[in-house]
């Protein structure tokens, strides 16, 4: 009888609730959209508008027109573009070489090679530059000491080497992912049609990867033109725009000029992402193939293996050499000049200012990481599942955090949040950046971390969501769950791996970010990367090396901890744990 009751009642109730739920689900989706839009407006769009306004002022326009009319400034512009293109091209090439070896070669120590390749991602931007000066500088241990060469590492060559080594892992990760998802059936088809390995490589593999090459090139291009640490340390007389913007703000406090330089830097940054979105994505063949179906046949011919392996080993050796220099340099008085063993660098870094910076930086990055991760996932979910009209706009706005060069973002924050935000006569926000701001300016730094890290969560979230059948969501909704509940109970667990990789990358990125930070760090919020910058600039490489190793250790341990924490709760493991518990006789 009770069964009959429920049977007769349920559909009615079900309809009723689902209707109500439908309304509510709409509401929660709308609320999330409102939240995300508000965050994006505050964190990235408003500072950008401020930059445009300042650059559009009389003084700003004067600098702006000067950039294009004076021969010197045109040269600086050209320098910037040349550097960006060289690093973009070379970085993509190196990244591809290593990714290809990783995906298509069989050799021992593959996993180790993978870890070595990723080292530059978890280390601050100066580790490479300082080590390169110590090793290959004019009095470099290798160039001068071992080979007796007179080399000049300062200027374009040095910058290209240092920036390529710092940024190529981004290209490596992109291309490795693409190579692994290439359908081996295509190779097999080409092979059975009589194509040789080289022919397959040139006419199947490479064309399929063109979108990946383009994306990597553009990403590295933007990272390079935004970088200001390396041009300051190893740039020699090769002047680039970001350095001009830096001196304008840090030395002269000429906001108008800083904003004007920023606008010029901004254009290629935005262009890159428009191109990537509308050209690369459209021509992408890879995204439709899904999971690979067969097994990849590895390259066995010596003709292919030997040159590729030599290249891979050479790059890996260079990276190992650089990080060995960092570690050894941290324990020596002045590496290359006075090689006595000392602990004073660590004493300096771990006491006083150094430990302050360590704690503050880690804390702020730890606060920002989950916020960025969850916001990124939320944004991905809204883009893929919840909006049609706003889709493109939201996606683009979310990616702005990455598309806007760091230097520009930092200057935008300094201009916007150093004073309270006032419209009419009402204060909407107190000052968020600067030493006099609330929380000593820490909030602005967290905001920068969030907006810089969010896009990686958003990207991996979108990629993951596109592979999950919407029917699962619909099932949940039709069973009466609201949008919010569905997101929390269904979507989030399914995209957990994406969330995990988003989180780890977000944390590493936050900890190693410099370009935006130098403009908003304050006496109360000392940030490690900006501390390292002053050590490097002042020439105290020993302290800088010690800082770098400490930072790398922090990043690696937190990534390890995130992996443990998030992985512990995966459904399979819970099931396995239960099974084990039932298996063990009590």
């Amino acid at each position: 009888m009770s069964a009959l009751d429920t049977a007769s009642l349920t559909p009615v109730a079900g309809v009723r609730t689902s209707r109500r739920q439908g309304a509510r689900s709409d509401l929660s989706a709308k609320l999330s959209i409102a939240l995300v839009v508000a965050v994006l407006l505050l964190l990235v769009i408003y500072p950008l508008i401020q930059i445009l306004v300042r650059a559009g002022s009389a003084a700003g326009l004067k600098t702006l027109s000067g950039i294009f009319t004076s021969a010197v400034n045109r040269r600086i512009l050209l320098n910037t573009v040349v550097l960006g293109s060289l690093v973009g091209g070379l970085g993509t090439l190196v990244g591809f070489g290593l990714a290809y070896a990783q995906a298509r070669l069989q050799f021992r120590g593959k996993r180790l090679l993978h870890l070595i390749t990723l080292m530059p991602i978890v280390s601050p931007p100066f580790a490479v530059a300082t080590a390169v000066i110590t090793l290959f500088g004019r009095s470099g241990i290798i160039t001068k000491g071992l080979l007796g060469l007179e080399t000049n590492v300062y200027g374009l060559p040095g910058l290209v080497i240092v920036l390529t080594l710092s940024f190529f892992p981004v290209a490596y990760m992109n291309l490795l992912g693409m190579l692994r998802s290439l359908d081996p059936a295509l190779d097999e088809a080409a092979c059975s049609l009589g194509a040789g390995r080289l022919k397959i490589f040139l006419s199947v593999t490479v064309p399929m990867l063109i979108p990946g090459f383009a994306a990597s090139f553009l990403l590295l291009f933007v990272e390079t033109i935004a970088d200001l640490a390396n041009p300051l340390v190893i740039g020699g007389d090769y002047t680039v725009l970001s350095l001009r913007a830096y001196i304008a703000i840090i030395g002269e406090y000429d906001v108008a000029a800083g904003a004007a330089y920023s606008v010029v830097l901004l254009i290629p940054g935005l262009l890159v992402f428009l191109v990537q979105r509308y050209w690369v994505n459209r021509t992408s063949v890879v995204s439709v193939t899904g999971k690979p179906s067969g097994s990849v046949s590895m390259i066995t011919s010596r003709l292919g293996r030997i040159p590729l392996l030599t290249f891979v080993v050479a790059i890996a050796a260079l990276i190992v050499l650089i990080y060995t220099t960092v570690v050894v340099g941290a324990f020596t008085n002045i590496l290359g000049v006075d090689n006595t063993f000392t602990l004073k660098n660590y004493r300096y870094v771990l006491s006083g200012i150094g430990s302050d910076a360590m704690i503050t930086t880690s804390l702020l990055a730890l606060i920002a990481t989950p916020v960025a991760g969850v916001l990124g996932m939320l944004l991905a979910w809204l883009i893929v599942r919840k909006t049609r009209r706003l889709q493109g706009v939201l996606d683009f706005a979310g990616m702005l955090g990455l598309a806007v060069p760091g230097t520009v973002l930092g200057i935008g924050y300094a201009i916007t949040f150093n004073t309270p935000v006032i419209f009419g006569h009402r204060m909407f926000l107190p000052a968020l950046a600067g030493g006099g701001a609330i929380a000593g300016g820490a909030l602005a730094i967290v905001m920068v971390y969030v907006i810089r890290s969010m896009p990686s969560g958003q990207r991996s979230g979108i990629a993951a969501l596109q592979q999950i059948d919407p029917a699962i969501d619909e099932a949940s909704t039709s069973l009466g769950a609201s949008s919010a509940t569905t997101f929390r109970r269904i979507t989030l667990p399914l995209i957990r791996p994406a969330l995990l990789s988003g989180l780890t990358y977000a944390f590493a990125r936050a900890m190693t970010t410099l370009s935006p930070i130098v403009f908003i760090t304050t006496p109360k919020t000392k940030i490690m990367t900006s501390q390292i910058l002053s050590e490097v600039d002042a020439g105290r490489f020993g302290n800088a090396f010690a800082y770098c190793t400490v930072l790398i250790v922090i990043v690696l341990s937190v990534i390890g901890a995130i992996n443990l924490l998030v992985r512990d709760k995966t459904p399979q493991q819970r099931v396995r744990a239960t099974q084990e518990r039932t298996d063990t006789p009590s």
């Binding site: 300062y154 007389d237 840090i250 000049v337 200012i353 030493g435 006099g436 701001a437 109360k524 002053s534």
Partner: protein, 354 residues
């Protein structure tokens, strides 16, 4: 023996001045706790070497219980930061770094005039008449050369400004950017003075020097390090910084001075306008002028000439009477600073080298 006497004397003077400063602090308008002691925290923008800054602020914290922290900033950076945070300053005191920057900041309304009761101990030539800043040390601009590198290039250690223009020194001179560094601005203003006050001629000289400069660093102390590591042959720095690097292990460094005459800095101390803890800030300034505070410098390898005649002398400090100093007009330099550095930045720093 002589030194212990001096130290005892210093201690006596210190004790006396302490009594004096204690009086200033008792001013009812200043925020002190019930026991009349200083409280709260203090942030110092410090323009000297990091370890100097740390030793100073640590000593003041220990002495007064005021939590004193510092940020090491180059001169131009400090002015920029003060300008950016005008509405709500993040610093209370500016300590160390050439006085020209202080003068410029005072003219922009970023510094508040404060004449410390201890200022009378400092010779009048080492402090501003309007109380905008008081000198704590004097540093002389010089050349810091890597002797091995010079020998390699076949160049003698430079003894004149013109010697730096030697084509053999191409990309072998290190100096800082005057927009950020006070040291580099001292170099620039020295040229103005040596050229009879002509900014154009000074910039002409800098333009020629530009061809020999490897790169412009942000901080003025860096060129000494660059020379010490052998990345360049000569760095233009204050001689005390060169001595410090030599003591820390770069044994090949050698100090020389230009015969035409050289510029010098008076390292200042000043009160930031709008300081949130003015009582403690003033106490810090009072203290920084005492031999007790000034004698901390040499303990961390900073051998600037100290402005308080009662501070201890060290043989590693430069003897000012043996140096040909130019007539450096700090007031004029301060007025000209902003426009001149902007000109340098636009007309020289970004120019290609020939």
């Amino acid at each position: 023996m002589k030194r212990t006497v001096a130290r005892n004397l210093a201690a006596v003077v210190a004790a006396a001045t302490l009594g004096l400063s204690a009086c200033t602090v008792a001013d009812p308008a200043t925020p002190t706790d019930s026991s009349g002691k200083l409280s709260g925290s203090l942030t110092v923008a410090c323009g000297a070497m990091e370890d100097w800054c740390k030793a100073m602020t640590d000593a003041f914290t220990k002495k007064t219980g005021v939590q004193t922290s510092f940020v090491r900033l180059s001169s131009g950076e400090t002015v920029a930061r003060l300008e950016a945070g005008k509405a709500s300053p993040e610093f209370d005191v500016w300590h160390g770094g050439p006085a020209d920057g202080y003068g410029a900041a005072f003219k922009s309304g970023l510094i508040e005039a404060y004449t410390s009761p201890n200022a009378s101990q400092i010779p009048a030539k080492y402090r501003a008449a309007d109380g905008s800043w008081t000198g704590v040390y004097v540093g002389v601009l010089g050349f810091c050369s890597n002797q091995a590198k010079l020998a390699e290039l076949g160049v003698a250690a430079p003894t004149s400004w013109n010697a730096l223009l030697d084509p053999k020194l191409k990309k072998n001179v290190a100096t800082a950017h005057p927009s950020t560094s006070g040291t580099a601005f001292t170099t620039l203003w020295t040229q103005v003075t040596l050229n009879g006050g002509s900014e154009d001629k000074a910039l002409d000289y800098m333009r020629q020097l530009h061809n020999n400069v490897l790169q412009y660093s942000k901080s003025g102390t860096a060129p000494g390090q660059t020379a010490g590591k052998g990345e360049v042959a000569v760095g233009i720095v204050f001689t005390h910084d060169c001595v410090k690097y030599r003591e820390s292990g770069m044994k090949d460094l050698k100090v020389t001075l230009p015969t035409e005459g050289t510029g010098y800095e008076i390292g200042g101390v000043a009160l930031i306008k709008g300081s949130k803890n003015p009582a403690a800030a003033k106490a810090y300034i009072d203290w920084s002028l005492t031999p007790e505070a000034q004698n901390i410098g040499p303990t961390v390898g900073s051998y600037q000439v100290l402005t308080n005649p009662n501070s201890t002398k060290d043989e590693r400090m430069i003897d000012l009477s043996t140096v040909k100093l130019i007539d450096y007009d700090f007031d004029k330099a301060a007025s000209a600073k902003k426009a001149l550095t902007a000109r340098f930045d636009a007309e020289i720093a970004a120019q290609p080298k020939s």
